[in-house]
């Protein structure tokens, strides 16, 4: 009981949200979620079209060092005369990329482990759960730091470290969902009608376990983005040529008493991204009617 994860069950109460009218209608009625969706779309747009959107080259150095925000440099320049806005826009790419890829990897591996453990039980369950329990004893961020300590810094290692750190969250949810669903009559029916183990897991159990897993995945993207930013800030992340939000903050840290914008705007970008994902996750949770047993 140590982690800020959502361990979930499907509530049997009626859905509070009108689900018939579809996802986007429901999101539009939810102010927080629509803000989240719009904000996130903006960042995704920035990430996809970074080179077109940014006013300057993010790596071009100039003699315009540490200029305060102006028309030419809307968020000011850093200690090497690089345009902060362009750097932040390019930073969106790494943040979203790491956020999404780590969660996809953690999701796939975690689901395989969790579903296998819950479905087969016995020694498979025991071996997998001992490993999961070991990870569960530590906060995700600390696990990521430990793994970076072993693998070394760098983008690929950060992705591996963060996805391994999140794996247990998905495995736990998947396993507990499988244990609930396994007892349903339609699973017995499928088995009697001759469906294979794989087919039962893939076609009958996973779709019914999807809701809490989708919500958890959304929340995890925001944690992964925070994790990447923190690792990069500490110097354990991406190499220094790539502008990432954590690195931009780390570079600017020594100059914040003279150039406040270097300490403020990259953080605003991180916060807005994470906030919009959290808002969206909250909306999804209401929409999919996932009951939280433990709040985040």
């Amino acid at each position: 009981m140590t982690k800020y994860a959502t361990v979930l069950g499907i509530s049997d109460e009626g859905a509070p949200v009108d689900r018939k009218s579809g996802f986007f209608t429901a999101i539009r009625k939810d102010k927080k979620a629509s803000f989240g969706l719009i904000m996130l779309s903006v960042f995704v747009f920035f990430a996809l079209f970074a080179s077109w959107v940014s006013p300057h080259d993010p790596t071009a150095m100039d003699f315009d060092m540490m200029l305060p925000p102006s028309w030419e440099f809307p968020l000011g320049t850093d200690d090497l005369g690089r345009d902060l806005l362009s750097r932040i826009i390019h930073g969106t790419q790494i943040s979203l990329f790491v956020g999404v890829t780590t969660v996809v990897i953690a999701l796939v591996l975690g689901l395989i482990m969790g579903v296998a453990a819950g479905y087969f039980g016995g020694w498979i369950d025991m071996v997998i759960m001992r490993y999961i329990d070991l990870l569960w004893a530590f906060p995700n961020f600390i696990i990521a730091v430990y793994l970076v300590a072993v693998f070394g810094a760098g983008l690929l290692n950060v992705i591996v470290a963060i996805s391994l750190a999140f794996l247990d969250d998905f495995a736990r949810i998947a396993r507990s969902m499988v244990l609930i669903i396994k007892e349903e009559q339609y699973i017995s029916a499928a088995r009697v009608s001759g469906a294979s183990d794989f087919r039962i897991m893939w076609r009958h159990i996973l779709p019914n376990a999807a809701a809490p897993i989708i919500v958890q995945a959304t929340v995890c993207v925001s944690y992964a983005i925070l994790g990447e930013a923190t690792l990069s800030f500490l110097g354990l992340g991406v190499e220094s040529e790539t502008p990432t939000w954590g690195l931009i903050l780390a570079d600017g840290r020594s100059f914040i008493s003279r150039a406040w914008w270097l300490g403020i705007f990259p953080g605003v970008a991180i916060m807005l991204t994470v906030l919009s994902i959290n808002f969206l996750g909250d909306g999804l949770r209401d929409y999919l009617d996932v009951r939280e047993v433990k709040d985040v």
Binding site: M1, T2, K3, Y4, K32, D133, L134, A137, F138, P139, F141, I142, V145, Y146, V148, A149, V150, F151, G152, S222, L226, A229, T230, F233, L234, G235, L236, G246, L249, R253, I256, S257, W260, G263, I264, P266, G267, I270, M271, V274, L275, N278, F279, D282, K294, D295, V296
Partner: protein, 316 residues
């Protein structure tokens, strides 16, 4: 109960043993030789070989493991291979009170903010105050702690000059010098946790306020104050106590990060600097101590639950 205690303690020891073994194995599998890194400008193979022998790195790996484990059990984690080669145990002993100070003060900060915020949000549900608390809690959860630390330095140290920007002063040099260096780090660490607790208190209060016994209490004509404080709040606290269990995990990992912003040489700074310098003895020692704190505080919290809420029965 005793059976449960023994089983959990044994489990915690097994986890620690597993962590120790994994740390030992993994740090020896890494590419990049610490000795080579240390002597990269010497480049003398004979000198490197001699240092290897002195550090026992030329022996078979299981012998190294046995020696290492035996030493670690006695609190001897070897010497730092970087700089003045201080004993790792000394570094850890110096770092521990710093990290624990930050973690405990940030816990107090978080609770002091969270309880009133959560209560206000719950008792004034769907008013401006409720929305404000919810929104601020969302923002608090979405802010990276190290960025909040930078913001606090910009405002309170660089511009207002109210508090010191970096460093640590031990408690032995007076309460205020010690405390003033810890205020900003503790706020930076505690904010995310206070957001979690405030949301927890709100939802748990809302649940309790709908209970039948609350209706009975209200129909007896009790004042709103008595209702909230002596009937609702104590009952709403039980699920909140569960979340305190994650407090340690969250505050410790927050401290690990934020120490680096405030240049406080706690466990986190030791760990991160060790990783950056490839100072393996320091990394190993820091990982083991940080892990031990997590494992045994989890154990402590789980055991405390059964005392706080007698309805929880373990091991039956």
């Amino acid at each position: 109960m005793y059976q449960y205690l023994i089983r959990r303690t044994f489990g915690a020891l097994v986890v620690m043993f597993a962590v120790a073994t994994l740390v030992f194995i993994m740090l020896r599998l890494v590419p990049g030789d610490p000795i080579a890194a240390m002597l990269y400008d010497v480049g003398d193979p004979a000198a490197i070989e001699e240092i290897r022998r002195n550090l026992g790195l030329d022996r078979p790996i299981y012998v190294q493991y046995g020696i290492w484990l035996g030493n670690a059990l006695q609190g001897d984690f070897g010497n730092s291979i970087y700089g003045s080669r201080v004993e790792v145990s000394r570094l850890l002993l110096e770092a521990l009170p710093r990290t624990l100070s930050i973690a405990s003060i940030s816990f107090v900060v978080a609770i002091v903010i969270a309880i009133p915020a959560g209560l206000i949000a719950a008792t004034r549900r769907n008013t401006g105050a409720d929305y404000a608390v919810t929104l601020i809690a969302f923002i608090g959860l979405s802010m990276p702690d190290f960025w909040l630390a930078i913001l606090l330095i910009i405002v309170f140290a660089a511009n207002l000059h109210w508090l010191p920007a970096i460093g640590y002063v031990p408690l032995s040099e007076g309460f205020w010098p010690w405390f003033s260096h810890l205020i900003l780090p503790s706020i930076a660490v505690g904010t995310a946790f206070s957001a979690i607790v405030a949301r927890m208190i709100r939802s748990s209060m809302l649940e309790v306020l709908n209970m039948d016994y609350m209706r009975v209490a209200r129909s007896k004509g009790l004042s709103e104050m008595t209702l909230v404080w002596s009937h609702a709040f104590p009952n709403a606290l039980i699920p909140v106590v569960t979340v305190i269990g994650i407090a340690f995990a969250l505050l410790m990992s927050g401290a690990v990060v934020v120490e680096n912003v405030f240049a406080i040489k706690g466990l986190g700074r030791l760990l991160i600097q060790g990783i950056l310098n490839r100072d393996y003895p320091v990394v190993q020692g820091a990982i083991l101590v940080v892990s031990a704190i997590f494992v045994f505080s989890n154990l402590l919290v789980d055991v405390l639950y059964s005392f706080i809420d007698p309805r929880i029965r373990y091991g039956s």
